[in-house]
Subunit: 209 residues, 4 copies
DNA sequence: ACTAACGGGACTTCCCGTTCCT
DNA sequence: AGGAACGGGAAGTCCCGTTAGT
């Protein structure tokens, strides 16, 4: 209920945050599907129902939109999907395996050929645009260091064999995530994921105490 | 020595095969660096010193060049670098690890940020162009099945634990190759490769008999 | 001192006249530097620290700003710099020469390549926008007729040879001003001005009685 | 008649020089009328009946067209109209006056408001684009030094008073040309020209021996 | 086999101006 | 009076591809 003085929830007109979010959302999906260079500003504009003027108001260039996508959307997704869920597991090693399996199996089939949003952009843009590279690398590092924290937790609880470096393990885990997405993207089915997941699980078993 | 009647090795004028090869070579490097969509026909033309007419004489479209690149260049490279060398190893599991290490360490530093030619294209083009996808997937399958042959050899020689599927193992190995390249592309150094390589080596050790 | 009831000289908020003057001032300099068509409303807005809304509140269109610039700023400048000072000279012919010399020599070097505000706009806009033409021509006529008054004064005092028309002389004088500015704009130094000034001085000497 | 080996006069299709010349011609007129910044590539393209592709083939950028216009068209015009004709006069001082009068009086009335092509560009572009400035200044210098040669001829023949510098005189003459065009542009009639021409003639008379 | 003029269209950018809001 | 979201359209650039010609 609205009391006096409360801000009314924005109606339709003039909601800049909503507009900006809408642009990011539409652009994210289109770029995920066809790549950053494969999506034109017109495509995004058409997808949002806005005009070019509105787009240009919120993002000075197409690249600025891409940067925002990495800084905001991608980073948030990594946190929500791959790092935070690990908190719910007593055994982080098991958590990594279970969480990956869970998210992939819950993924709708039409998303399978799209690949990993982060990996797609890394492969496409890292060497094309230095700022893209820097920002993408920051997200990757955020991911790895986020996983490493949980690996240290595992180590502290004695769930990790001696001689296994937590950083190295985290790197290997994240690489497995991206590699699995990459292969799914080419094979377009979850079978290859399950195969890769089995191997990863085996590996995690072998480093567990 | 050239005998009468032997074709002299063509110098410069009118050598269609040489021209075609030159185009492929230049395009390969440019596309490896900036992506397929990031390279224009004009760029390739400029890089070869030819003209647009020559380009379109050899390739009906820009896409056709991309397809040829996958069918010919990429496939050959996979065979030469990742499959054939395994023949030289008594123990294919060891061969995989040693060959990967050897090739990466021999790689010039300026190639590190370029990533894997196959992986780059898969991530960029699989979902953009169906023909690209088909051809890229064929190379990937060629690679995996090529590795699997050697894994079967390992199994036949009793070098592989029971219960380890050769196909699954081959998939995991190839994924590790692409994943390692992908991460090197972002971190731009070989340190992260060595970390990943250690993990792979550990894994291969754990599945060896 | 401020008495009760007197309007305090407005500091910063909500002073429409001050805002309008600020826009004119900033626009004048930018247009002098890059031309009317080379300056965008956004440039002016940025230069003033205002927003577009403020700009269009004071001027209905970009052209309206240009018109105001001609009507107000340019006309005032012509009066202050080229006409009023002549009042201080007993001999207006000498006054023209001395005043021109004085103003140019006092001009900072970085203004040399900017040219004459009036002449710039005449050459750029006269044939592009009829209203611009009309207003610019009015300022030019204002200038010439202002000078002519002083030429008539010279004639009345017998300082002018017989047979020299005051209108024609005024036109020639103003033309020399604009021409000198135009050449300084291209050569970017005052040397060429001094050369032209010598010739003008010689001419004025030859028509003096 | 065409002999064997003679190049056939180009027909209609594929005549690059003719196309380039056509672009320059159309662009010259449009830019003379509306200024460089006031003319769009589309305007020029429309005026020539070509397409943007053709335009871009002959000139990499719009600026490159402008540069070519200055280097080629403007320089040639200056030579043909203001320098070469002086050769036909025994007395160059008289030549300057007569040639100016002749060309202006022969000018169609609709050209009067267009101004001097060189002066227009100098005032509009000198401070906007450094390359433009450099090239325009070169043409101006070419003009002045071309006139100076004839002034030296006058001096050598004893047609010039002692103490009159040929360089300074040439500068004054060229300035009078540009200034006259500038004023005609604003007043849109030849009356003001005749007034200015009278003054110039008087001046030239006063420096003649 | 190869050259270069040429065709159009699509791209990002950015412009001027309007409108809703405070 | 002023601030900012937004509307469209047009600018210059550049791209892929065709075709006349050698």
């Amino acid at each position: 209920m609205l009391s006096i003085g409360m801000k009314r929830p924005p109606k339709r007109t003039r909601n800049p945050e909503r507009t900006r979010a809408k642009i990011l959302e539409v652009a994210f999906l289109q770029i995920l599907t066809r790549g950053f260079q494969g999506v034109s500003v017109d495509d995004i504009v058409k997808g949002t129902g806005l005009t070019k003027g509105a787009f240009f108001h919120h993002f000075p260039t197409k690249q600025a939109l891409g940067y925002a996508l990495v800084d905001e959307t991608l980073k948030r997704m990594v946190a929500e999907r791959w790092i935070t869920p690990l908190e719910g597991f007593e055994n982080p090693l098991e958590g990594v395996s279970v969480n990956l399996k869970r998210l992939i199996e819950a993924m709708p089939d039409e998303h399978v050929p799209l690949g990993c949003p982060l990996n797609n952009l890394v492969q496409e843009m890292s060497n094309v645009d230095p700022v893209f590279h820097e920002k993408l690398n920051a997200v990757l590092e955020f991911w790895i260091s986020g996983v490493e924290k949980h690996m240290r937790r595992a180590k502290d609880r004695g769930l990790l064999k001696e001689g296994i470096g937590t950083r190295s393990l985290a790197e290997f885990i994240v690489m497995n995530h991206e590699g699995a997405f990459g292969m799914m993207k080419s094979y377009r089915n979850k079978r290859v994921f399950r195969s890769l997941h089995d191997s990863l699980k085996k590996y995690l078993g072998s480093v567990g105490a």
